[in-house]
Amino acid sequence: MQNLDDLQKVLIIGSGPTEIGHETELDSATVQIITGFKKHGVRTLVIDNNPFSVALEEIQPTNMYVQAVTTANVRHIIERDQPDAILPTLGGLLGIRITQELIENGDIGRFGVTILGMPAATLRQINNPAALNATLKEIHEPVIEAQVVSTEDEALGLVESIGFPLIVKPVAPRLDTNRTICENVDDMLDALNQGFAQSRFDQCTLERSVVGYKEIEMVAVRDVADTKILIAGLENIDTVGIHSGDSIVVTPPQTLNDREYQDLRDATFRIATELGIVGVIHIHFALNPNNQHFYVTKIAPYFTRGVALAARTTGYPLALVTGALLIGQRLVDIKLPSRFVKQTAIMEPTIDHVSVRIPIWPFQEVPDADQHLDTVMKAVGSTVGVGRSVEEAMLKSVRSSQFSPRDVLPSVSNLTDGEMISQLIHPLANRILVLIEALRRGYTPDELSELTKIDVFYFVKLQHLLKIEKQIKENPLDVDTLKDARYYGFGDGMIARIWQTDTATIRRLSAEADIKPTYKMIEPTAGEFDEHASGYYSTFEYENESKPLGDRTALVLGRGGNQLGPNSAAEYFTTEMLKQLKRAGYHTILMNTNPNAIGIAPEFTDKQYVDPIQLGDVLNVIKVEHPDIVIVPGNRHYLTRELGKLNLNLHVLPPDQESSKSQPKTATISVSLFVHKQHKIAVGVMDMIAPGMNQDIAQVTAFRMPAERAKADRLKLVEQAKEAVSEHQLTGMVQVLFAPKSKDSQQLTVVGIRPTRLTEMAFLSKVTGVNWVRMLTRQHIGTLDEKELAAIKIDLNSKRVALMNAVFPFQQLHVLNRPGTTDQEMGATIAFGSSEALTLSNLSDTEQLDKIINRTI
């Protein structure tokens, strides 16, 4: 490896638009690593075409390449800019694949670029099951024998020796691994067909299935001196056979004994050493519940959701440390910011709380997707519950995952027995509710464990929760029962619903009986040291560790886990808002349960509460912190209404879309204005494009700016827009929508005015170079400088055309690829070009659109 002391310029391969399998966790890690690199005097270049990327906001325009993340584009950057090193691990599998291709075609060697994080020999093996297995076998790590086949005949020949059920995997696939479990020959032939098409080498592997084994993930770090630390073990409640992103995950593992855990830790370390990984590594194991045997099932030496979860739930500064390791520092030498106890980086985390992560599904927005859970990931996000018992953590995470305005759990009591059993054996998305219902109907933990292969321990815990629920039902308004209920994670809303009263009554009862939450710190030393970590969670015990942050605090309520819709843009919004609040001198407090959020990085947030964002919990936090400002997101109507009843400095950001003046059926052009007092600043004139035939406004998911119109037309539209806005009360970022007067008319008329949507706000910020989220925030907190505002110059008629196009999960969910609606978006891409290249006629065709987005610069 090249001498890392000479490192001056590093190219980070970004991860592109958010999708199923990676949300905002990669962007979050990138932000923190860039910060670290900056401190060490390393210049960072980033290539990414994600318009909602916060990392792109953190670097100078000269270091940013807003281009499609493709091998060709990366190659050009390497050629032109000659970086000393390239960092693939923040780009997930995409980054790895691109770097693999660059090695293969000789570019890495030719330009003398060092690969950070692992030797080239290891990089070549990632995603190549056959090569990786060979390496693992050499170091005596147990693997599932995968045999490579190139034809159906070869596969048929192996069926005898491998047996069913078996798994078919494409070799070096173009997307995240698509593994298919096959019960018989027909299944296998189908899977092979798909697999050959997806493989870069037209090959597939066949292997014995370990479906039903326990799935345990281990996250570790390693430095150049071969010192290794285990950060966390993540136990999937659901067994192998359900993708770990779709499983409910608990950390630390609850059903392993020490020896099993240490065996996996040893294996993780051996593998990290053998592969020469520097930085973070995330390994999946399948553990046979009947003996102590395990198999290595997946090796991911890059940033993943599992890595983000390990960092969030331990409080270990994982991104910071990894950044230092990547540029060659040893764990023992890493200097952390002063708020950490000096040697936090080199202590192996031990924690005294339990965290449960629950997936969030897209099925409400994409109802035709198959809800059966299997080895292909379907969840679009996740949410975390933290507590001091498994019950408490589970219940808090389930509450956070339901997005129920009044914090109650939906019921599945209308399932027939037959349906229920079927769903137990062939799990669907709302897994945990079905498990609870089965217990309610009298199934014993042992029976359910037998049916689902889930460890009986979890059923014992769920049964305990049902027992408490029964206790609540039978003792209305009883204070001791209330205490028990809160102790184990029941929220105000749930208790109120069972007692058929309102949350105010519950709060009053709690106050009278002095039942109040104690907040504990999320830190990696289990109380041995006085860490000053920033994460807290609520529990009902003796000591409260959370002291009010002090003067001038702003409490920001997050959105919870990622869902379909403008959520990555919402994450961008929240983070930029936090930045602005900090700049204005506020101490920022974020309440959020999304382990992949960007806003929780210490650069942006001084303190976080990982608690359900529900009325009761929010009020508890307000009681401790007495914030000067409370900011609630616009889609939480009930919460906003209730909080509005109190004497708080409450702001609704992002703005509530329902405060729009009329929702038109269709719109073809919009004018965005920033309205403040008498100022109306024209920010941009955009074409609103609905790829596909229908121009329904819900299907407008692509935007072109400036709109393809004559200059004079654009200016006229701007004037019309300003007039329209004058008549209404809207301020801040406002979008005026236009559509043709009638079907054949060329003339445009105003059809609606609404607060600018999150996605478009991000787009406008990236294109105009002015951060409108920050402007909006400043307007709300009263620090907007009118002189500065007046001095902003926007070129509405720029020659450089920008295009933003939403990305949908249809392919990953195996449903028909069709024009999606705004509430089905998973992320978006942004592209720049000349107006000739980006004409409207090209953009209406989805294929053409794709080509444009992914073109080589």
Partner: protein, 359 residues
Amino acid sequence: MEKRYLILEDGSAYAGEGFGAGATTSGEVISNLNLLGYQETITDQIYHNQIIIFAQPAIGNVGINHDSYESILPTAKGMVVRDVTNISTNRLSRLSLDEFLQQHNIPGISGIDTRHLIRKLRKMDGPVKGSIVDVADAHAFDQLNATVLTNRQVDQVATPKPYPNPDTGKNVVVIDFGLKHGILRQLSERRCNVTVLPWTASAQDVLNLDPDGVLLSTGPGSPLDLGEGVLEMIRAVQAEIPLFAIGLGHELFALANGAKLEALPVEYHGSSHPIRRIITNDIIYATQGQGYAVTAKTIDRDRLITTYVDLINGTVQGLRHRDYPAFSVQFFADGAPGPHESRDLFDEFMEAMTARREG
């Protein structure tokens, strides 16, 4: 589940729910920060007469199994936990924690804010006494204050008579101070033909067996309570036979060779601390759990070399004799519970014995 109390000598009382035995007990209160391994911990004799507070909030999840005993008859005086599950169906397990504790008359108390306790205890210098009682009244506190922590601990837990652990390989004598079974398991894995001797054995007793190597085991309490006889035995044996000492054994080895010990203001029981192996400058992690440490400046450099150091608190974690193949470590080389990377110390021991026989 009845209401019970944990009371401390500073006058504080914590209400919780009892599990395990209903006995009323008193003892020194110790915090354990290991991530897993409650069974190994509760059966480790270093916790003789101690009440253990577990940092890990959910205990009992995997019941009690055959392979995780560190002793047959545990002598701890209580378990203090946040949340306990009484389950006995992990594939290895046969008993629930509750049943096990009842069998051995050890009380447990759950529903306690263990994080708070651990944070509070680490600010209190020196051993802290506590009791698990039914009623937290003046009488209970009186009893607690009158409790004297015993110094005859090794006597209570070590074997009074020799016994064998036969196998076909090297002949190893283990001097038992209340050993943890993890040690025997590591020796068994390496096929050692083990004879366990009581801690009162003389050097002649040891040499009469003509062993290839001698291992001084772990145990509870202070080495200063064990008298001079043991130290003489160590001095005589180390000059003749390869020696390996762990935990309490390490402390005795240090004393025998002229070093002094100090009581740690707060004991550390956990495996998070990086420990530097000085000779190769590597870092390993291992389970620690002792109340004393060798005082670095009292080490006679003509006799002993410091081989391991805890990077967090600077304590000496390993020693080696300059003139003889005799070495020791403060931490638990066998893991159980805890990291396994230090198990190669047993391999070192084996190789030292081989070299001695062949050389």
